[in-house]
Amino acid sequence: MTATMHAHKAPDSNAVFPMTPRGPLSAELMTLLSSTPDGTDPTTGLALAIESALDAAASITRDEDIQLSLFILYGLHYGSFASVSADWEWQPSLVAARTALERAFEAELRSTIAVPELPQPTRDAVAQTLSALTSAEGGPSLSRYVASKATAEQLGEFLIQRSIYTLREADPHSWAIPRLTGRVKAALVEIQTDEYGGGRVARMHSEIFATTMRSYGLDARYGHYLPDVPAITLASLNVMSMFGLNRRLRGAIVGHLAAFEMTSSIPNGLYARGFRRLGHGTEVTAYFDEHVAADAVHEQIAAHDLAGALAEDQPELLGDILFGAAACLEVDGWAGNHMLESWTAGRSSLRVDQ
C-alpha cells in the first residue's frame, strides 16, 4: 500500500469499510479514506492508480476495482460509509479522481449503447419514443424467472443485489431537483415525494424495502452486502449517481428515471408473484405490490411531464434524455442478465469476497 507516500495515518480499513478492496485503486482509496484529511492533497498516488486501473480495464462497466472505487467516491456524497470523515467529500484530488473515472465510464457507455433516432422535441413525441424504447422485447426476462422458477436462495440473492440501490431508493435522482426548474422540477418532485412516502417514514420506498429484507431474514443495514455484489450491480447504481451528480448530465438522469419508471409496474407484479409462490405474505411482498400501483403513476409523469416537458423546454437536452433512458435499460439489463445467467447455470449470482 502507498499510504505512507501521503503521510496519512491509516487504521485497519475493515473498521471503516465493510469490504476488502478489489484491486490497487480501491485499495488506495480505502486506505486513504480510512484516515483523516490532514490538509495536504494526496494527488500523486491516486492519479497514478487511476491511470493504471483505466489502462488495465477491458470493460469499465464490469471492472470490479473501478466500479467499487466509483461506489466509494459517490459514497462520500451520500454518506454511505458512516466512519469515513465527511471532510474528504470535496477534497480536490478525490473530485478529480471521480471525474476521471466518470469520463471514461461515460465514454464507454456512449460508445456501446444505441440511442434511438431523436424525435421532435415535444412532450408527446418524446413520450412516444420512450414508450417504444421501453416496451421493446428484451429476450429472457429476470422478472418472469423470479415469478415462476426462482428458488428461495435465489430470491434472497435478488433482494441482496437490489439492496445496493433500493435501500437508497430515489436518492440518485433527487440530485437533479435543484438542477431543474419550473414544471419539470415540479414533475420530478411529484414523483420523488411519493418515493419518500409523502412525508411518512414508514411509507418511504427504501423503508418498505428494508422491511421486506428483514422479513426475508436478511440484514437491511446499508452496505452490509457490499462484499457480495459484483461490479455490474455497482455499475447500475454508479450510472445513476454519475447522471445525478453532474449538472451537465441532467438530461440523462431525467431519461434514466423515465425508463426506470416505465419498466417497473409489470416486473414488480411478477416479483411479488415469485415471493407469494414460495409462501411469503405482504410483509415481504408489500414493496413489490406498492411499486405496481406507484410506478403506474410515476411512469406517466416521468414520460410526459418530466422527460417530455424537459425536451420541450430545453431541446438541446433531448439527446441526453434518450441516452439516459437507453443507459438505464442496458445497464440494468446487464445486471439482470447476470442474475439470470448465473441461476440458469446453477451458480450463485453473488461474488466471493477475497
Binding site: 415525494t193 400501483a293 403513476v297
Partner: protein
C-alpha cells in the same frame, strides 16, 4: 366545487395518451358501498383500458394490450 373559482387543491383528472387517468388534488375514491378506498398516495392513476388487476387503479398492463387513445 360549486363556484367557478377553483380552490388550489381542487381535484383534477388528466387523461394521459395511451394510458390511465391521472388524478391529483383533493379527491376521495369510494367503493360502490360508499366506503373510502385508500389511495395510498397523493396522485393516483385510474385504469382506463379495463385490464388492470388492481382496479380501479392502473397496474401498467395497458402497455401489454397496446391500449390506444387516439381521438381523445
Amino acid at each position: 366545487m360549486t363556484t367557478p373559482e377553483r380552490a388550489d387543491d381542487a381535484a383534477t383528472i388528466t387523461p394521459y395518451p395511451d394510458g390511465p387517468l391521472i388524478v391529483r388534488g383533493d379527491f376521495q375514491i369510494l367503493a360502490p358501498d360508499g366506503e373510502p378506498l385508500p389511495a395510498g398516495r397523493k396522485t393516483v392513476a385510474l385504469c382506463r383500458c379495463g385490464v388492470s388487476s388492481i382496479k380501479p387503479f392502473c397496474d401498467g398492463t395497458h402497455k401489454l394490450v397496446k391500449f390506444r387513445t387516439e381521438g381523445d
